[in-house]
């Protein structure tokens, strides 16, 4: 009897911890929604367009990629911008395969869950010890990030709008720094680091000869080739971080 009671208290404790972690991650992520909002305005988008992206696309890497390519190449680079954002969104699909069993059944529930399936919600959910706390962790994190990210996107867009010449404020460098922050926690493996260096070299080398956006897409082929043949990879270890811990405990979600 007391054992069951202890288990119940333990379960409640786990759920409280999951809730607290989710809210903390939501707050940390929201803070950098400001930089997305401002960078999007700097890339030539208006406030409505900027907020639309944060609501519907709702995936940091893809969002930064879209406005980054548009900033460099303008509307002409549209197809490449779409392709970059989409390719960066592939990992969310992989996360979905792992979070689907956590969320459970129900069409609308699954639809809402898919919408908020991102690095952060997946990472917090999978880090919890019990099925119930995993579910709590997933929803609390996803919703906290969704609400915070959209509020701060609007805030950043308003700030960016008020700044005027964004280059003078170093916002172009801030965009590059934001990508460094997204990449950093993924570089623990030799294979990933090698792919990163090779992709950067390919993209820089092709920039003067191809239309904006294309160099980034061609650099992505480095990942396909290295991944296919598993060069520099550890034999017997399937995939990198995403097969076990999606977000790898990156700086911003800890």
């Amino acid at each position: 009897m007391s054992e069951i009671l202890a288990e119940k208290i333990g379960e409640q404790h786990q759920q409280r911890l999951a809730t607290r972690e989710g809210i903390a991650v939501g707050l940390a992520t929201a803070a950098y929604g400001v930089s997305f909002g401002a960078l999007s305005i700097a890339a030539g988008l208006d406030i409505w367009q900027t907020c639309f992206i944060s609501i519907v696309m709702f995936s940091g890497g893809s969002q930064f990629a879209l406005v980054g390519v548009l900033a460099a190449g303008g509307v002409v680079a549209g197809p490449a911008a779409i392709a970059s954002a989409t390719l960066l969104g592939v990992r969310n699909g992989i996360y979905g395969m792992r979070t689907a069993p956590i969320v459970g059944s129900g069409l609308w529930k699954r639809f809402a869950a898919a919408w908020i399936t991102i690095d952060e919600s997946t990472a917090v959910a999978l880090a919890q010890p019990t099925p119930h706390s995993r579910r709590v962790g997933f929803w609390v994190t996803g919703l906290a990030v969704f609400i915070g990210w959209n509020i701060t996107t609007l805030l950043g867009a308003l700030i960016g709008d008020a700044l005027g010449d964004t280059r003078a404020y170093g916002l172009d460098a801030a965009a590059a720094a934001a990508f460094v922050g997204l990449l950093w926690p993924r570089l623990k493996r030799m294979q990933a680091a090698a792919v990163a260096v090779a992709a950067a070299v390919v993209a820089a080398t092709l920039t003067p000869v191809l239309i904006p956006g294309l160099p980034v897409l061609i650099a992505a082929l480095v990942a396909v080739v290295v991944g296919l043949f598993n060069w520099l990879g550890t034999p017997g270890v399937p995939g990198g971080a995403s097969t076990r811990r999606p977000s790898d405990g990156s700086g911003r979600d800890s």
Partner: protein, 101 residues
């Protein structure tokens, strides 16, 4: 394409991928090669975007205040500085260098 068309197309594509993850059989995930490629794809795209964002100016490659800013950013991430602080410092470094030169 108009800017709105680009934004809507990209947003729907990214959302569709999320939904797809809830529809495919989980067995696909256990195959190591697709999982590894998806993982490295993210790394390659981010690295390529850093290169273009740091060195590109349209189709030209230029060396300017963005380079020291990105180096400072990498150093700060290495010592686990919070994301928003690093992004702000990077902007300040670039803005400061431009104001001085």
């Amino acid at each position: 394409m108009t800017l709105w068309q680009i934004i809507i197309a990209a947003s729907i594509a990214v959302l569709a991928l999320k939904l797809a993850g809830y529809l495919v059989p989980p067995a696909l995930l256990h195959k190591p090669t697709p999982a590894r490629i998806a993982d490295l794809l993210t790394v390659a795209l981010l690295a390529a975007l850093i290169a273009v964002q740091t060195l590109g100016n349209g189709q030209a490659l230029v060396l300017d205040a963005r380079i020291p800013a990105v180096i400072v950013a990498a150093g700060l991430f290495a010592i686990k500085t919070p994301f928003i602080v690093v992004v702000l410092v990077a902007a300040l470094v670039a803005a400061g260098l431009r104001a001085l030169t």
